[in-house]
Symmetry: C2
Subunit: 420 residues, 2 copies
């Protein structure tokens, strides 16, 4: 099946909002064998919306739109598309009731806003696509010829939920029903690496860097990781899975020591699982990351059985008074030093009575660097199952240095857990 | 001037990477009066790249590409575009030297990777666009007829730096040189609000919600804020600025109490500035946010003169032993309660000897909710210039609840600083 996407919103056209929905849609649809053949972005203008959707319908007969379903006056998707199908707009009382219930549950100020009612107007004969994550429902509108438009909200978390819960089942059902389902699929596997530069990874991969057994290999560098994504096209589902499995084995053979997980694996989640299995409890002492490492760990649901807490020792007085770092060490070696990092890790472990303590102290920049301690120099230390400290030379913006430092601390812990 | 954008990469086409560059480019170019008339995305395929760039050149004669400049084999932008212009590829020794120097500075493993050399091949006669934030330089290639292509890397932080530092000056110079510069501009002003739902904001705005004096108004909801963006089109620069200023005054008149800043203002930065002006020092005690509030504050360069540190009291034992929360309070009221939030704020303020202590304790979910303390219930407390505690009912995913809680704590502090 071939589908077109129309993303709607002045803010997209002007670049004020990043079009995350287009990527989400492409990825989810490719995984079930749908091909996205065209993507258009238009502003909040009824004529432009109708023009783009009509042109797309004429080409493929299957269109997904995002955006313009909200309660405000710049939301005009439904009426514009209803006009293409020759439908009038009617008020759906079930939506009105759901909106009122939702408002009562979450309300922060005053009575139910009447502008919300716009969200309850739908084209006659349309099917409502429930929105579990927000107030604006989606709309499915089809005609006798089998042409259809699915209208989803522009808010990414709402769009995502409706795509998975409602739209994909509907589309795959259509594909099997009308026999247009592609016999081949586009499938990928991803290996996530950290602590290695993209170019060094390519060198280590040698010939594999240009593709594995005819499967395309992409390098996807992120702030704190480089993902290797191998993609199979043109194969049936079973053959694609087998080819990808063989490719993953080869890639792991070459660069496995940098791989911390697959697909969307989160290093914090991996580390927490490994600790949980062994009954290990963690604490952290953070200086330049200011809570980022704790935030990474506690972002994972259920982290409370492993992660106990920590101290954000941003000012040196906190390192001294709360983490038993001696004034001598601070004066002699400076706050960014092996001695201070080690003392912080040992102290937080002992004082929070955990099995492992992790510490981070460094120069995140942009100011504060010196010749001997430049911006990007970060000490990470671990005390517990093993005792180690490592000096990192990170580059990037302040936030990138901080994110990379937190990631490096998690990776040090992952390696320590693997080898002890 | 009219420009086309071609973004390159299999991962964009398949949706594995979000196309942030397209938005960045559109926004920066619109601000100087350039109109983006077409956007195409193609995969890492020489034929597709050449086809898309050639078509774009034929339409407007001015094209910006992103992606495909890196050291790996899926990076083939330069050669594909050189072919369109009939140029051969040559090795640039200055780039080789810069790559070697950069590698020496940041290297983590082994010798200089030879695959890096691909980044030093450029089309003959091309101008190098320096890349201050990464290893792959950009390329500017023009012909006698004045048609040009600017090739930028796909890594967003690299693309952004080169756009601002190198490409925009080059484009604005061309616009004034060839007289094609538009006499009108597209300009926007943004008011950032927090603590209010989009629909409630629209109600408070009344008639203004559909536009201010003929200027378009967009509602841009984020995880922890709703931005109001008013946009002027078709006016000369001075008239646009004046019209926007009048619109901003009207918007502030209607919903100013929710506005914490303008443009890309960060609430943490605003709060830190306000504290700095008054010599106020801060500490935090975090439970469900696990360090996120500290991370928000320390993300701001120079925060160390205001922010001293904090305790991540994730486990109740840390609340008791490190923050003087009594076992009785924990047992009688539970960890998510006004009593515990207030005790945490008072204790961290006193024990870290700061002027203000802020605390957060709540149920981030997805598990752990009860009938009386559902997921999304968060207590935020402040001790210092004023003493207050507030119970929030937040919705969204675990991470959204946490981000909204940290933002609400910062906003509580902002309001307290304003009124005391």
């Amino acid at each position: 099946m071939r589908i077109e996407i129309v993303t709607i919103g002045d803010e997209l056209l002007l670049g004020f909002t990043i079009d995350t929905n287009a990527a989400q849609l492409a990825r989810a649809l490719a995984a079930v064998g749908v091909e996205i053949v065209h993507r258009t972005t238009v502003g909040d203008n009824p004529g432009d919306i109708a023009g783009a959707v009509k042109a797309a319908l004429d080409r493929t007969g299957a269109v997904i739109t995002t955006g313009g379903l909200g309660p405000t006056s710049d939301d005009m998707t439904k009426a514009s598309i209803a006009a293409i199908f020759g439908k009038r707009m009617i008020r759906d009382e079930a939506i009105v009731a759901a909106l009122r219930e939702r408002w009562a549950r979450y309300r922060r100020l005053g009575p139910f806003p009447e502008s919300n009612i716009a969200q309850a107007m739908i084209p006659e004969g349309a099917t409502i696509i429930p929105n579990a994550h927000g107030s604006a429902p989606g709309i499915w509108l089809a005609d006798e010829a089998g042409r259809w438009v699915a209208m989803l909200p522009g808010v990414p978390r709402e769009m995502r939920g409706m795509l998975t819960d409602e739209l994909l089942p509907r589309i795959t059902q259509r594909m099997s029903a009308d026999g247009s389902g592609a016999p081949t699929v586009v499938r990928s596997r991803t290996l996530r690496t950290t602590g290695v530069a993209e170019s060094a990874l390519a060198d280590q991969l040698g010939d594999l860097a240009s593709g594995v057994d005819g499967l395309a290999l992409a390098f996807l560098p992120g702030v704190d990781s480089v993902d290797l994504r191998v993609t199979s096209r043109g194969l049936a589902a079973d053959a694609a899975d087998a080819a990808l499995e063989r490719a993953v084995v080869k890639l792991r053979g070459a660069v496995g020591r940098f791989v911390f997980g697959e697909e969307s694996a989160d290093l914090a989640e991996i580390v927490l699982k490994s600790c949980r299995r062994r009954g290990i409890r963690l604490s952290v002492a953070e200086s330049c990351t200011g809570g980022l490492l704790g935030a990474r760990l506690t972002a994972v649901p259920g982290s409370s059985d492993v992660f106990v807490g920590g101290v954000i020792a941003y000012d040196n007085s906190i390192k001294r008074d709360w983490l038993e770092v001696s004034q001598d060490a601070l004066e002699e070696h400076g706050a960014v030093s092996e001695e201070v990092a080690v003392a912080m890790a040992k102290s937080i472990r002992a004082r929070m009575r955990t099995d492992i303590g992790i510490s981070i102290t460094g120069v995140a920049g942009p100011g504060g660097g010196t010749a001997s301690k430049p911006v990007g120099m970060v000490w990470v230390a671990l005390d517990g199952i093993s005792s180690e400290a490592r000096c990192l030379r990170l580059f990037g913006t302040r936030e990138e240095v901080r994110q990379r430092a937190a990631q490096a601390a998690l990776d040090m812990l992952r390696r320590a857990l693997e080898t002890s």
